[in-house]
């Protein structure tokens, strides 16, 4: 077995020469993850804001369910989506199994509860501060949700970041519904799993380095935005 140093050198070599296979895998990973996070935000932000801002029968149950779903096991989600999309499943005719769309669906199911539950917490705290002012101004439900989401936007960036972290690192669900098909559904995490099992550690490590770099970059960017917002007293 090669030394760790030489594997790391070859891994950086793959990144530096902009290896086409590597780029394709990174591109698909980002496309799947970002799409899933965006869809999860579109669903989870208003859902979390509504649960955080309004009192309605069953609200506690919804909150408990959202919190519980944050810990959804990815393989279980993968299995459920697989059963839905398989030829004999209710969504079989759509022929989505083993496509990037199936991976997006699985990741969206995993990430949406995280976005919704964390949004609920952020919005609930802000709403406690605003509630009397909103009532005094006669702010309607839609305006209320919109205002809370807008005013909590910098905190919600962190929420989206948590969703991104979950999605980009996910392997169990996407390997079940995507199948890890070369040039079709192969993403960074599934490739790392596959190449490691094959002993091709250079590519696995190169992808690992890229994955870490992406996570670091996204975190740094979000923290920079939040820090500037705090300085300006918007957060």
């Amino acid at each position: 077995m090669d030394s760790f140093g030489s594997i790391l050198t070859e891994a950086f070599g793959l990144i530096l020469i902009w290896d086409p296979d590597l780029i394709e895998i990174i591109g698909l990973s980002l496309r799947v993850t970002l799409t899933a996070v965006i869809v999860a935000c579109v669903i989870g932000l208003p859902l979390g804001a509504a649960v955080g801002a309004f009192r309605f029968p069953g609200r506690t149950i919804v909150a408990v369910v959202l919190n519980a779903l944050m810990g959804l096991p990815p393989v279980v989600v993968g299995l459920m989506v697989y059963l839905m999309l398989s030829a004999s499943g209710p969504l079989g005719p759509l022929q989505l199994l083993y496509t990037p769309m199936a991976m997006i669906i699985a990741q969206t199911i995993l990430v949406t509860p995280i976005i919704a539950a964390l949004t609920k917490q952020v919005v609930e705290d802000l709403h406690r501060e605003y509630v009397e002012q909103f009532a005094s101004l006669g702010v309607g439900p839609l305006d209320r949700v919109g205002a809370l989401l807008w005013d909590a936007r910098y905190s919600l960036l962190t929420v989206a970041l948590a969703g991104f972290g979950r999605a980009v690192a996910e392997v169990g669900a996407v390997i079940i519904v995507g199948g890890n098909i070369n040039h079709v559904t192969r993403v960074m995490t599934t490739t790392i799993a596959l190449e490691t099992s094959k002993g091709n550690l250079e590519l696995a490590l190169a992808l690992g380095v890229v994955l870490l770099a992406i996570a670091l970059f996204v975190n740094a960017a979000v923290m920079a935005v939040r820090a500037s917002a705090v300085r300006a007293a918007y957060a």
Partner: protein, 264 residues
Amino acid sequence: MLDSASLMKTFRADVAEKVAPSVISARGLGFAVEGRVLIRDVDLDIKAGRRTVIMGSNGAGKSLLLRLLHGLIAPSSGEILWNGRPLDKAARRRQAMVFQRPVMLRRSVLANLDFALRVHGVHGPARRDRERAALAMARLEDLAASPARTLSGGEQQRLAIARALACAPDLLFLDEPTVSLDPASTHAVEMLIGDAHAAGVTTVLVTHDRAQALRLGDDVIFMAGGRIAETGPVEKVLQNPQSEVARAWLEGRLHFEPGASETK
């Protein structure tokens, strides 16, 4: 002993009280939480165009009464009438309230005004005109683009009042708006309240400050233990209180007992 000027003011207040119609009234108003009665049997009439101050010791129910009248919380008993009719959503939009600690949205000064006007259905050039007028009224033109939460306490309170007045209310509730402000900021806020009154807005102000009550009030409602202990023209009540509890409070003899009105 009242001097002639005070007597004249009291006389005018008496006449105005009898002539002006009530903009908001309470009949048998009560409020209780978990069996604790915090407001009981409150009957009152706030006259249109008048300046009413609510006074009393901590825990007397002043702020709670304001929230009940503004419809922020529902009474446990009794009713609130707006121009003789039950207080409804439309009537509540004719009121505005300024809180002890101003609530600023996490936006610029201008965006805070814009939001309030937008939810009040003011659009287009009229909204821009009102925003400009509100900024000028609060003397915050130079800070229009600044985040509202970076303003000083006095500036935030001026913005809160300007935001409330921009919505053109008939009635403005103010819950101890100057309690944490320095004299200069207090003066600026009082000027704004004076401007509101001059523009025909009925004001209801909660204050502990006797001098402020005299400056900003025509009528006073004195509360103790969740009840109204005494009402009348502000000078008359403050200079010659008829109730023992008001007299004790004004003389500094009233000790705080939540939900009670006993005097030492």
